[in-house]
Symmetry: C3
Subunit: 138 residues, 3 copies
């Protein structure tokens, strides 16, 4: 069996909450004591996304403000005309950032840069529980 | 052989046409009756992209309007000075959204959220025929 | 062993330098003389990204200008209050474009469109040396 499916749950505050999930991914991967592998991270749901950033408080604010410029929460969305849940902007942001990211495992370590972390972005306008899948192909 | 290559063709209207391709992907994957696998979707071409969204008419309009704000079709692009095909904005949009997405197959089912669908976005300014590849690693 | 890890180094000028890395990827892949495979490209670092575009001088300028509109280098970033390295905009751009992309290998060829090339985008505000990983799953 050359593929392992792992997953974990993260509770978020929504509202473009940005959470460092690097340690969770390491926990899923490192216990298998593999040397070289492809690690695929994907998130369920249409108002959240995964990407990589330098995880520090300043940049988190910058990224939240950037998303507010790109898909403002203050304008009207057709999505909200139907569902009236006021999270149209969250759907647009998630579609742009994307729901999956790949990282190489090399000599037993995730091949991230010194300052590079994997993050979950939750754009929904309320608290959510998110299910992240980590697939390890080796 | 732990990898299967499948593909399908979608005819689009271009002009930021957004098409739900979830069923096509399921057709490629489910016939192999696998339990756990990595499913990688990629699209050929430099004016189209794949991502995941809640596929409903309001959000489709929202996403089209967001792309119009992010890379307006009304401004001038250097790309069009050379090719004169007027689709510079389409290239920029495609580069931002991205050409590939991964989904986990778990217990025989694509691990999408309840409202999450895989979509093809065709940003070109004319009708196109698009070739989508589905790779299944198991 | 169904997975091969390759990598290469690219020296960039930073400042949203956009470099065609398709030939480098082909060099990593084609020497193995495989028929069908999944090719996963990922980049280390939090101020660079990978995506696919039609690589021509006009579009390169268009994409650089689009990034300048989406995450302007002229506004203030909280990230720079801490590090004072003036590259907050580079981090935001990288998070949006993304650090990984997948391409199918079919009948021994990378399944790119006629005009579609894989590019490295370096958003940092200085020259950098970038490490790109190419994983081949077959």
């Amino acid at each position: 069996m050359p593929i392992i499916n792992e997953n974990f749950i993260i509770n978020t505050n929504g509202n473009t909450d940005i959470i460092n999930i690097t340690k969770h991914i390491q926990n899923c991967v490192y216990k298998h004591e593999l040397k070289d592998a492809l690690v695929c991270i994907s998130i369920q749901g249409s108002t959240s996304a995964v990407t990589t950033i330098e995880y520090e408080p300043g940049l988190i604010k910058d990224l939240q403000q950037a998303m507010e410029r790109i898909a403002p929460s203050s304008i009207e969305y057709h999505h909200d005309e139907i569902w009236h849940d006021g999270n149209g902007y969250a759907h647009v942001r998630a579609a742009l950032v994307g729901s999956s990211v790949n990282i190489a495992l090399k000599d037993g370590l995730l091949n991230l840069g010194t300052w590079q972390q994997v993050v979950l972005m939750d754009f929904d306008n309320k608290e959510r529980s998110r299910n992240i899948t980590v697939q390890i192909v080796y």
